[in-house]
Amino acid sequence: MAISCKLNKKQEFSDGKLFQPGDGSAARILKMSDADGKTPVIEFRDVGLCLANGNELIHRLSLEIRAGETLVLLGRSGSGKTTTLKLINRLLTPTAGELRVHGRSTREWDVIRLRRAMGYVIQEVGLFPHFTVARNISVVPHLEHWPAGKIGQRVGELLQLVGLDPQLASRYPRELSGGQRQRVGVARALAADPPILLMDEPFGALDPITRAELQREFQQLQSRLGKTIVFVTHDLREALLLATRIALMDAGQLATILTPQEFRNSPQPLVRAYMQAFDPESIAATKRGNL
C-alpha cells in the first residue's frame, strides 16, 4: 500500500540495536541512559505510524523517558510531536515497533487502565463546558468511583496545589480566565495522582505574562511532585526553561535529543536554526537589515 511505509523495511537493521540513523549524538545519549541503569518509564523502540492512506506520520522513533524527568518534544507544526504524545496513551496505536509503558507494551495494556494511569493536559479547550470546575477536576476520581467525601477533599487539595481560590469550585469553565482554565486543566490531570503526565502545549493559548507565571509555577510543582512528564511545545524558550531533556522532532523523526545546556551549544544545523529563530539579537539584526 504505502510507498513511504514500504521503504522502512529496507532500512531495517540486522543487529536490531537501538540506533538513530545519521545522528551520532542521539545514539550517544541513548547509550548514556543505558549506562546509568535507570529503567525507562516510557520506551519507544523503532516505533512507526502509517496511516491507511500511506502517509507516514512517525518514522522509526526510538526514545526512552526516565522516571522523574521532563522530556520536552520540540518541533515545528506537523513534525509529529502531538502524534508521539498520543501514541503514549494509545489514542493512536503504532503500526511498527513497540512502545512500552512501565515495561509493558501499550498493546498489552488495558487501554482504559493505561489512560487513567496518566494525566492528560491539552490546550484550554479540553475542559468540559457543562461541568463545574470541581466536577472537571474530579473526572477521573468519578470514573474510578471514589466516595464523595474523598473526592471533595481531593478537589480542595488540588485547587490549593495549583493556586486557585476554592470559591471557584462551583464556577463553569467559561466564567474563568485563560490562566485559571489552564490551572484547572493541570489540577484535573493530577487528580488521581498518576505517575506520568502528558502535556500537549498546555500554555500555548495564554498571553506571554500569564504563560511565564504558569511556567514558573509549573517548575515549582514539578520539583515538588517528581512526576514523569512528556511535554509538547513549539516554543524553544519554554523547552529550555522546563526540560530535563529536549527531543527535537523533524518530519516524523527524532532529529536529536539533548539537555538544554547541550542544545544551546550544539553545532547541529537544525538546532542552530532553532536557536537563531528564537535569538533576540538575530531577530533585531533581521529587522535592521530590512530597514
Binding site: K86, N89, L91, I112, R113, L114, R115, R116, Y120, I122, Q123, V125, G126, L127, F128, P129, H130, V139, V140, L143, Y172, R174, R188, L198
Partner: protein, 210 residues
C-alpha cells in the same frame, strides 16, 4: 354563522377533537423519540450506517401522507384501527428530524473535548453519557421540537382515514364548502402547533449546556 359562533355552539365536540389531536401528535412524537434518538446515537457510533438510515428516513418523508396511509392499510394489527394507522404514519414522519438532530448533535461536539475525555480514560459509554449526550442535548431537543410541530400539523390529515382530531372539521368544512367549519379546525390546530413549539423551546433553553 361565523367561526366564533360555530366554536361556541360546538365547544364540547371541539374540545374532544382537540384532545384527540393532541393524543395523536403527542404519542407519535414520543414513539418517534424513543426510536429516533437511539437510532441517531447508533449511527454516530457506526458511521457506515449513517447514510442508509438517514436516506431511508428522508425517503419516508417524501411519501405523500395520504399515500402513506394507503400503504399501511394492509398491515395486520395496525390496519385494523384508524388511530393506530395514523400514529404509525405520524411516527414515521417524525423520525427524520429526530435521527438527524441526534446524529448531528453528537457529531458536532467539539472533537478536542471528546479527545480529552477519551485521553483521560473514559469508556465509550462514559463518554456518551457524561460528555456527548449532555453537550448534544440542546440540538436533540430542537429535533423533538421540529418533530412535534410536524406531527401536530400532519395529524389533521389523519381525519381522512377516520382517526379523528381537528382534521374532522377541516374535511367536514371542505365538504360543506363552509369556511367557518374549516377555520374551527384550522385555528385550534395552529394554536396547538405554536403551543408545542413554545413549550419545547422553553425546555430547550432550560437544558442548554452552560
Amino acid at each position: 354563522m361565523n367561526v366564533w359562533q360555530f366554536m361556541l355552539q360546538n365547544h364540547t365536540e371541539m374540545l374532544e377533537l382537540t384532545l384527540e389531536h393532541l393524543w395523536l401528535a403527542g404519542i407519535s412524537t414520543l414513539l418517534a423519540s424513543l426510536i429516533g434518538i437511539p437510532l441517531g446515537i447508533l449511527i454516530s457510533r457506526l458511521p457506515a450506517l449513517s447514510r442508509p438510515v438517514l436516506g431511508t428516513a428522508s425517503v419516508i418523508q417524501t411519501i405523500p401522507s395520504l399515500a402513506l396511509f394507503g400503504f399501511l392499510l394492509p398491515a395486520p394489527w395496525i390496519g385494523q384501527r384508524a388511530d393506530r394507522l395514523a400514529i404509525l404514519a405520524l411516527t414515521l414522519y417524525a423520525l427524520l428530524p429526530l435521527i438527524r438532530n441526534t446524529y448531528t448533535g453528537i457529531r458536532g461536539v467539539d472533537r478536542a473535548i471528546v479527545e480529552a475525555g477519551r485521553g483521560m480514560g473514559m469508556t465509550d459509554r462514559e463518554l456518551l453519557w457524561q460528555v456527548e449526550l449532555p453537550l448534544a442535548l440542546e440540538v436533540i431537543i430542537a429535533g423533538v421540537r421540529v418533530a412535534a410541530v410536524l406531527s401536530v400539523g400532519l395529524a389533521t390529515i389523519a381525519a381522512a382515514i377516520g382517526a379523528g382530531g381537528l382534521g374532522e372539521y377541516i374535511f367536514r368544512g371542505l365538504a360543506m364548502v363552509n369556511n367557518s367549519v374549516i377555520l374551527a379546525g384550522a385555528i385550534p390546530a395552529a394554536a396547538l402547533a405554536l403551543l408545542a413549539d413554545g413549550a419545547l423551546g422553553w425546555l430547550q433553553k432550560r437544558l442548554a449546556p452552560r
